[in-house]
C-alpha cells in the first residue's frame, strides 16, 4: 500500500484536479453536439487536431523543463485548453490556425509562465486573441448555420476545407459573418436592430444556432455548479454585469442597440461565463473578488462588443480582468475570525 502522509490531516477528500478537468470536458459535450448539429462536423476535426497538438506541446515543454510527464499529461488541463480553443475558433478554420493557436497557448501562455497553476492569463483566450489579431479574416469568417447553407458540409468536405483550404471562388458560398458581426456592421449602417433580427441569420433571441449553443453551454455550466467544480459567483456576476449595461443602453437608445437577450445568447457569452472566466487559475480567488471579477468581465464584454473594434469581446474582457486579479484579491480579503469589529 502507498505510504501515508506524515503529518495531519491524515484524511483526504475526493476532489482532484483531474476530476475537475474531466467534469469540465463532460459539461461541454451537449454544446459540442449542438455545434456539430448547427455547423457541421468540422469542429470535431479541429478539436482532435488541437488536443493532439496540445498534448505533444505539453509533453515537449515538460521534457524541456525537466518536469515529470505522467502527472501533468494526465491532469487534463492541456486537453481543456485545446477543446476550449477549438470551440472558440471558427469551425472551418484552416489546420495551421489551430496548430499555431494551440502551440501558442501551451508553450507561451502556459509553460513559459511556469505551467499548470502559474499562468496569469487564460491560455485558450491568449491564443484566441493572438489568432484574431494576426489572422482577422480567417478568424471572423464563420459558416452559416447548416440549415441556411445550400450544401451542408459532410465530414469529408470538412476535411478538405481544413487541410487543403477552400477554392477561392467558393469561400463566400460557404462562409459569412457571425450574427454579432452582422448586427454590429448593420447598426453601423443605420439599420434598426429589430429589423436586423428579422434576417435569416438570426433566431429567437440571438443568432440562429448560436442561441442554442449558448443554452447548452449554460446547461453544462449548471452541471458544473451542481458538481461544485465552479461556484456561482463568476457566472452570475458576469451575466448580471452584461445584462445591466445592455439593459441600460437598450432603454436609452433602442434604435441603435441590440436587446440584452441578444447579447446573452450570442457569441461567446455562455462559454465565457461558465467555462472561461471561471478558470480558477486565472480568476480572482476570494468570494467577493469573484463577484468583482465577473462583473468586470460582463461590462468589458459589452463595451468591446458595442464600442470596440471586434465583434465579440469575451476574450479581451477576460484577459483584461486577469490582469487585475492580484489587485482584486488583495482588496477583497475576507475578515478573519476575531478581527476587531468596527
Amino acid at each position: 500500500m502507498p505510504l501515508s502522509r506524515l503529518s495531519s490531516p491524515f484524511l483526504a477528500g475526493t476532489n482532484r484536479v483531474t476530476l475537475q478537468m474531466l467534469q469540465l470536458l463532460a459539461a461541454l459535450i451537449p454544446a459540442i453536439i449542438a455545434i456539430v448539429y448547427f455547423f457541421g462536423p468540422s469542429v470535431l476535426i479541429t478539436m482532435i487536431l488541437a488536443v493532439v497538438v496540445a498534448l505533444i506541446a505539453e509533453a515537449l515543454m515538460l521534457w524541456l523543463r525537466n518536469r515529470p510527464l505522467k502527472p501533468f499529461l494526465t491532469d487534463g488541463s492541456a486537453i481543456v485548453t485545446a477543446v476550449l480553443l477549438a470551440i472558440a475558433i471558427p469551425p472551418l478554420a484552416p489546420w495551421w490556425l489551430t496548430v499555431i493557436g494551440t502551440l501558442f497557448a501551451i508553450i507561451f501562455a502556459k509553460h513559459l509562465y511556469g505551467g499548470l497553476g502559474y499562468n496569469p492569463f487564460n491560455p485558450a483566450m491568449i491564443a484566441y486573441v493572438l489568432l484574431l489579431i494576426s489572422f482577422p479574416l480567417e478568424m471572423t469568417t464563420w459558416l452559416p448555420v447548416a440549415s441556411l447553407s445550400e450544401q451542408p458540409l459532410n465530414i469529408s468536405s470538412a476535411f478538405q476545407f481544413i487541410f487543403n483550404g477552400p477554392l477561392a471562388s467558393s469561400i463566400d458560398a460557404v462562409s459569412g459573418a457571425t450574427p454579432l458581426d452582422a448586427m454590429k456592421t448593420q447598426i453601423g449602417l443605420q439599420q434598426i436592430p429589430t429589423n436586423i433580427a428579422q434576417q435569416p441569420l438570426f433566431g429567437f433571441w440571438g443568432g440562429k444556432g448560436w442561441e442554442w449553443i449558448n443554452i447548452w453551454l449554460a446547461v453544462g455550466g449548471l452541471f458544473l455548479l451542481y458538481r461544485r467544480v465552479i461556484t456561482w459567483h463568476i457566472p452570475v456576476a458576469m451575466l448580471a454585469g452584461l445584462t445591466a449595461i445592455s439593459l441600460m443602453t437598450w432603454f436609452i437608445a433602442p434604435e441603435t442597440t441590440a436587446s440584452p437577450l441578444f447579447h446573452l445568447f450570442s457569441g461567446g457569452t455562455m462559454l465565457g461565463a461558465f467555462f472561461i472566466a471561471t478558470d480558477p487559475i486565472t480568476a480572482s480567488t476570494t468570494l467577493k473578488g469573484k463577484l468583482v471579477f465577473g462583473v468586470g468581465v460582463g461590462l468589458l464584454t459589452y463595451i468591446i462588443r458595442v464600442w470596440g473594434g471586434y465583434p465579440d469581446g469575451v476574450a479581451f474582457a477576460v484577459l483584461i480582468m486577469n490582469m487585475l486579479v492580484p489587485l482584486i484579491d488583495y482588496y477583497t480579503q475576507p475578515k478573519v475570525y476575531g478581527a476587531l469589529k468596527q
Binding site: 500500500m1 491524515f10 483526504a12 461556484t231 484579491d329 480579503q333 475570525y337 476575531g338
Partner: protein, 508 residues
C-alpha cells in the same frame, strides 16, 4: 430548550467512524507492570520530582510538584517502587525524549489516604482552585492546559458563560461520547464545582447532534438536579471543527474571541467534558488525576473501544489488549485523523492528553506528489477562520515570513480542512506549521540578538562610565598631587632656601 445558534464559515462534514468504538461500555485497562510518567504532560513548566529511585509510592501519591505558575503536580497512578528517573521517549510529533519517572507496580493498587470533600460550597473559590491544581488536572480535550488557571478570572473579568465542550468533532474519537453516556452524574459534579468557583450566570453543555445517547444521558442526569436550572444542553449541528474552542464559542454564543485574545475577554470560559468529570472526582472523592478514558480504534484494531487507562501505561499493552495488528508503514496516530500526530513507536506511555490511539485510517490521505495549486479557492471556502490558505501557501513556500504574518498565519488553528479539500493534494497545514516554526525561531533569534545588543551597549556604557570614573579619579589624584606639590613649592618658597643659595654662591 431551543437556543438560537450561530455558525462558523467553512468546515467539513466528515464520516464519523465512531460506531466502531462505541459498541461496548468503557472497560478498565488491566494494570501494567511498569508505568512511565513524563514530568511534562501539560502546557507550561515540567513538574519537579519529589521522590527518589527506590522509594515506595502509593496510588495517588504526589511524586512531582508543580514548577512555576503554569504547571501542575504529578501523581503515582498505582502503588509500587520508583525504578528510574531518566530520559525516556515520550509521545511527541518529533519523537523527543524527556525526563520521566518509572514505577514498577506491585499489583496491590493501594490508595493513599484520600480526602473527599462533602460540601465544596464551604470552600472559597481559591481553595477549590488549589485543590484542582493539586489534583494535577489539565484540559483533557487534547491541549492539556492547567485547568485551575482557566477557573481563575482575574479581577478585570467577570465570567458570564461556562461552556462545557462535549462536541468531539474529530472522526473516530469517542471517549467524550462514552463518558457522557456512562458518567453523566460525575460530569455534573464537576460542572457544579466549576459554576461555583467561577460564579457564572449560565452553563452550556455543547454536544453534537450525532450523539443522541450522550444527550439523553446528560439531560436525564440534569433533570434530577433541579438546582442546576441555569445549566442547559445545547445540541449543535455535526460539522468539523465545531469542537475547536473558538468555533464552538461562535456556534453557541454567536460571539468571536478577539484575535490574540482569550475567551475570558468576552466573558466565556470553556472546559472539556472529561475535565469536568476529573474535577468532580478530585473534589468529591479526593482522587487526583491518574487515569483517563482512551479511545483505541482504527481499521487494524479488532476490538476497538474505550478504556479507562492509568497514565504511564505503555501503548503497546493497550494495542495488544484490543487485538491490533499494526502495519509498519501505516500511520499510528495519537489524537484524531484531522489534528493528531504520527507516533514514533508503540512503547510510548499514555499521558494526560492522550484521548485516542488510531491505527489504520479508512480513506486516508496518500503521500502522493502534490500537483501545483490551481487557485481553485476550495481551501478558503473550507477555512473556519476565513483565512486564505492558498495565499498563505504561496508565501510560506517563498519563505516570505512578513507576508505570511500579514495574511494572519497565526490565526490558523491547524484544523486541516484546507488540506482535506485541496484537489492538488497539497499538504497545506504542513507548510503552515513550518512557517509558524520559522517565524517563532526568527523571533527568538531577534530576541537573542536584541539581548546581546543591549548587553553589549550596557557593557560599553559601563566601560565608558568606568573610564570616566577612572579619569575623574586620576584628575582628582593629579589635582591633589598638584595641590600638594604646589603646597610644597609654596612652603619651600616661604621657607628661606638660603643655604642652597649660599651653597651655590659659595661654589661660584
Amino acid at each position: 430548550m431551543k437556543q438560537k445558534l450561530g455558525s462558523f464559515p467553512g468546515g467539513l462534514k466528515l464520516n464519523g467512524h465512531k460506531k466502531r468504538s462505541t459498541q461496548l461500555a468503557i472497560r478498565k485497562m488491566p494494570l501494567s507492570k511498569k508505568l512511565i510518567l513524563p514530568l511534562q504532560q501539560h502546557i507550561g513548566e515540567a513538574s519537579t520530582p519529589i521522590v527518589a529511585v527506590g522509594d515506595k509510592v502509593l496510588k495517588g501519591q504526589k511524586i512531582a510538584r508543580a514548577e512555576g505558575h503554569v504547571s501542575v503536580p504529578l501523581h503515582a497512578p498505582s502503588s509500587g517502587i520508583i525504578t528510574a528517573i531518566d530520559e525516556q521517549p515520550i509521545p511527541h510529533p518529533s519523537g523527543l525524549t524527556a525526563l520521566c519517572i518509572s514505577i514498577e507496580t506491585d499489583g496491590q493498587d493501594e490508595w493513599i489516604k484520600r480526602r473527599p470533600i462533602a460540601d465544596f460550597t464551604a470552600l472559597s473559590a481559591h481553595e477549590i482552585r488549589q485543590l484542582i491544581r493539586e489534583a494535577g488536572i489539565v484540559g483533557l480535550g487534547g491541549a492539556g492546559f492547567p485547568s485551575f488557571i482557566k477557573l481563575n478570572p482575574s479581577v478585570h473579568h467577570t465570567v458570564e458563560t461556562l461552556i462545557i465542550n462535549g462536541v468531539e468533532c474529530e472522526p473516530y474519537i469517542s471517549c467524550d461520547d462514552m463518558i457522557m453516556r456512562e458518567r453523566a452524574d460525575g460530569i455534573l459534579d464537576g460542572i457544579e464545582i466549576m459554576c461555583f468557583a467561577l460564579r457564572v450566570k449560565e452553563c452550556l453543555i455543547a454536544i453534537e447532534d450525532n450523539k443522541s445517547e450522550a444527550i439523553s444521558a446528560i439531560e436525564l442526569a440534569l433533570s434530577s438536579r433541579p438546582h442546576l436550572q441555569n445549566t442547559k444542553v445545547v445540541i449543535i449541528p455535526t460539522r468539523y471543527p465545531a469542537g475547536s474552542e473558538k468555533q464552538l464559542i461562535q456556534v453557541v454564543t454567536g460571539k468571536q474571541v478577539p484575535t490574540r485574545g482569550l475567551p475570558i475577554d468576552i466573558g466565556i470560559v470553556s472546559h472539556n467534558i472529561g475535565t469536568s468529570y476529573a474535577i468532580g472526582r478530585a473534589i468529591k472523592h479526593g482522587e487526583p488525576l491518574i487515569s483517563r478514558i482512551v479511545t483505541v480504534t482504527g481499521r487494524e484494531v479488532k476490538h476497538a473501544g474505550n478504556f479507562e487507562t492509568l497514565f504511564g501505561t505503555p501503548m503497546h499493552e493497550l494495542l495488544s489488549f484490543c487485538g491490533t495488528e499494526r502495519q509498519a508503514d501505516e500511520p499510528f496516530i495519537l489524537g484524531g485523523p484531522m489534528m493528531g500526530y504520527n507516533l514514533s513507536g508503540d512503547h510510548l506511555p499514555v499521558t494526560k492528553t492522550a484521548n485516542c490511539i488510531l491505527v489504520g485510517v479508512d480513506d486516508g490521505a496518500k503521500s502522493s506528489t502534490p500537483l501545483p495549486c490551481i487557485r481553485c479557492g476550495e481551501c478558503a471556502v473550507a477555512c473556519p477562520v476565513s483565512l486564505l490558505p492558498q495565499q498563505l501557501y504561496w508565501f510560506s513556500r517563498a519563505k516570505d515570513l512578513d507576508k505570511v504574518s500579514e495574511y494572519n498565519l497565526f490565526d490558523c488553528i491547524e484544523c486541516g480542512c484546507c488540506s482535506y479539500v485541496c484537489p492538488s493534494e497539497i499538504p497545506l497545514v504542513h507548510y503552515f506549521r513550518f512557517a509558524k516554526t520559522e517565524i517563532m525561531n526568527q523571533q527568538q533569534e531577534h530576541a537573542k540578538a536584541d539581548l546581546a545588543r543591549i548587553r553589549h551597549e550596557n557593557r560599553l556604557e559601563r566601560l565608558q562610565l568606568e573610564q570616566q570614573e577612572k579619569d575623574l579619579r586620576q584628575q582628582q589624584r593629579k589635582a591633589a598631587l598638584a595641590a600638594t606639590q604646589a603646597a610644597k613649592v609654596k612652603k619651600a618658597a616661604e621657607l628661606p632656601v638660603e643655604p642652597l643659595a649660599t651653597d651655590s654662591q659659595e661654589s661660584q
